[in-house]
Symmetry: D2
Subunit: 294 residues, 4 copies
């Protein structure tokens, strides 16, 4: 299939590579030029501007946040370059509000819009083992299914309204943040009573919490290894903000999200912006002044 | 081995059964008499008073809370009936403070004290698949190891000071409560945006949160099936209270525990005391007045 | 002095009236036309468009929120109509970020910008008893002092950077919301123990809390009289949002603001948007299910 | 009147002095002996044991907390020393649960029990300007009215059930703590934006919050003068605990109290136990890492 791909961060690059590996023809674009080289060497055509990445009947994009998506797709001219009937597959974690706005704007232009946010880190993207949430018109999804399957271990259909995939992604990231904070507080408590984070989390992540989310972040917390960041605190803060905004839009109180917001702000105030979001464990430990005791 | 066993609720009965099945000789006691019958039919000797359940060199107990443990072991005469060197294996989820008090009192009397709180519900206890946290003197633990192994799939040694096992158990239950609340809030959010709890939790508990804690409670939340309670709200409230008390003792702030406390109080105020603690999902849904929308 | 005045809600109208009463010459404008009539009958010239309200050397504005200010002053043509050196006195409660943007934009155009947010309700505005926070260049403030004094019982100078007055106003409204919530929770507690809100608040607002904020809202809470709203819940929600945004901008965790946010969302979810923000007392009472007891 | 007085801390001593000054005959007792000397020099008889302080028809007590009250009145022999019909006036800030237990125990013994907790610091006690909440049987209150009036500027009758006065006192102290925290957060916010706590609180405590609670603690926060403590953090922590316990007893969620609990624990973890509870402002400032910026 001829496909355009916009946004080549760590995630986007790995996803685009898998499309190439599956035999698709890609035109790629990224804001900063360097990121395109590895893909060019794999056979991708490099577009000089975002609108020139449009080719064939599908355009995938994996941009960082609402602002980037807005600049490229609403303020920029990419949509103008797309032919009627073309499908835009948006993999970004964006707000529910922007998802609705994009769906409406694509509809007005006779373009198809599929929301396809992903769960998984760059290594899982590289291994084509992402979990992809998908929402959009069934016919549009069918057309892009071969692409989605080339990047994922499983697709999770969530209905027709694209924002349904986005709210699920946002709620899922909120659950991840909550899992981290619960380990942060629990280990502050056990440490204060003499049981190390490693001892405690070994039990929990081998038994009741034997799941990727807990095992991955639990290991970082047990080893106090917050650098380099797999998912940096400002990104986590952004995602908690998306949950709060989605709650605001539908008037849903989210007390855990409020606690997360404050803990993350406290981490950022401490200068921890480059740390992984599992560094919430540092915040919990500082509040208990644990380091002054041990 | 000749063993005494005190406390025959759903958990204690299943645990005692496994000791009988492993060939041990049991004398059992329970506050209310009826619970002893099934064990008697399996060959256990039924003691008329708690102190008469003391036999051989080990006494196991599985009582409901601090108050019950205090009444039987500190106010009652059970400790007087135990010979020096006897090991008391306490499986109850009790406070760190009481664990320390019990350890000291046993020490004064020349008795051994092993803390062995368990993770697992009655069905796992019946299947001898509990996870048991163990803390106490190594020699004492070695002596009771055959008993612990007869009830569990795995033992998790946590050192010599008994309260270390208790704080880990308390912190673990806090993590369970936090997992429930995070699903409660996340599903309130997705429901308000049109994605059902079942749709959303199917994704999450099959992927990042594919762990017993999330799968078990996630199913109850997806199906709104909070009755009969596997673990009733007042018990969960008690356990969050143990976490807060352990935090107070060592001056560890636990903001998630504060949120949990309020949500559970709200559930109790609503008259939900007989529901499973996963009914925190009802609280989150009520706060968003979801039922009035759907 | 010849003065333009934009924004004639309950507050703006009362403030403009006092300028007329003090002998100033006013040109007024309001989005919806009806509001201008009473002022016209007092001698104000009614402008057909916002830019035509610009006259003389001072323009005052009292608009509802960031969006209204942005539409009139940044997107609309009012600034183009102002001569260099003219002073814009902005009385609105707006975000710190917008205050900074406005100050910069005025500076670029050679206009003076004075932030002058007010404390006080419409009745105090009518009585010229507002407390006005003022920040801006001293010379500009001196020029508009006669106007400010005609509307207020006291001016509170807060330095040169305009946003300093805005952050103080935002922090002050946050304190008001916190005062309301503290009475809401305290009276839920006393009511549950049989002491009515009126009995309890009579003591508190006559002694330690004998201040306008507590006496005014305490009376509404004691009498459960939340309608008509003096300051409606959505406005309070907006102001708590301004505090959270100001905290985010400088990375200041505000746990009380998080609690307020959730309580207000819960009130809005309950359909209480037309009630006074002291209706937070209803939320606290509902969470404790007090009405089902009494 | 012949009166016994037990508990001569800063508050109790000042209150007892006023009884002497009003012409009453006092027998006094305090756990640590030194505190009795100043009162002895004013004419009080010093009792060697608590029960010997019992004289005449009224016994007043002003002890520190539940534990002290329990030790003296329930575990000690003071009640045995009181004649039937004697009135015990308990000024301490104690739990609702203990107030109920004491009322019942006094009733069983034919003793009268009046709860009379006070608002006011030692200087106000010395000036006989306390506000006293009073609950108990009307006849009993009438008998002790001359004593209460000799210590106070005003009595606040709250009905017959003694615990009504206690829950009001507890709720009032919760409101004080909330007022402090709201100033702590608000000033962290303004400071981060360049407006000092002194500048901001000067406005607020002169206008909307012109009340003793805000003016007194606002001054301490503005001047960062937390030592010597007027009311030390551990006492404030105890009082928030009484509010949480009263909420638990009647299932009333108190989210602000949860935030206060955590902030106070954080202060205690930081080693601030000797500071005034207005040092909550230090916690808010530390979370925002303000000192590293200024």
């Amino acid at each position: 299939m001829k496909v355009g791909f916009i946004g080549l961060g760590a995630m986007g690059s790995a996803m685009a590579s898998n499309l190439l590996a599956a035999g698709h023809t890609l035109a790629v674009w990224n804001r900063s030029a360097g990121a395109t080289e590895p893909l060019a060497s794999l056979g991708a055509k490099v577009a000089k501007t975002a609108d020139r990445a449009v080719q064939g009947e599908v355009l995938c994009s994996m941009l960082a946040n609402d602002q980037a998506v807005r600049e490229v797709f609403l303020d920029g001219g990419v949509l103008d370059a797309m032919d009627r009937g073309t499908v835009h597959v948006n993999h970004a974690t964006i707000s529910v509000a922007l998802a609705q706005e994009l769906a409406a704007e694509h509809g007005r232009r006779g373009l198809e819009y599929v929301a396809a946010p992903v769960f998984g880190r760059p290594d899982m993207a590289a291994a084509a083992k992402l979990n992809i949430l998908v929402a959009g018109k069934p016919a549009a999804i069918e057309r892009v299914r071969p692409l989605l399957e080339a990047m994922s271990s499983k697709l999770w259909p969530l209905g027709e309204a694209p924002e349904r995939a986005n709210v699920a992604k946002i709620a899922g990231n909120f659950m991840l943040a909550a899992a981290i904070e619960s380990m942060a507080e629990a280990t502050a408590l056990t440490r204060a009573h003499g049981v190390s984070a490693a001892e405690f989390l070994d039990v929990m992540t081998s038994t009741l919490f034997a799941a990727p989310a807990y095992q991955g972040y639990g290991k970082l917390i047990a080893e106090q290894r917050f650098k380099p960041a797999g998912f940096a605190l400002p990104l986590g803060y952004k995602d908690v903000g998306l949950a709060l905004a989605a709650g605001e839009a539908q008037r849903v109180p989210l007390p855990f999200a409020g606690v997360l917001r404050d803990a993350m702000l406290e981490a950022l105030a401490a200068g921890d912006a480059e740390l992984d979001w599992s560094a919430l464990a540092l915040v919990a430990a500082r509040r208990a002044h644990l380091d002054e005791r041990e």
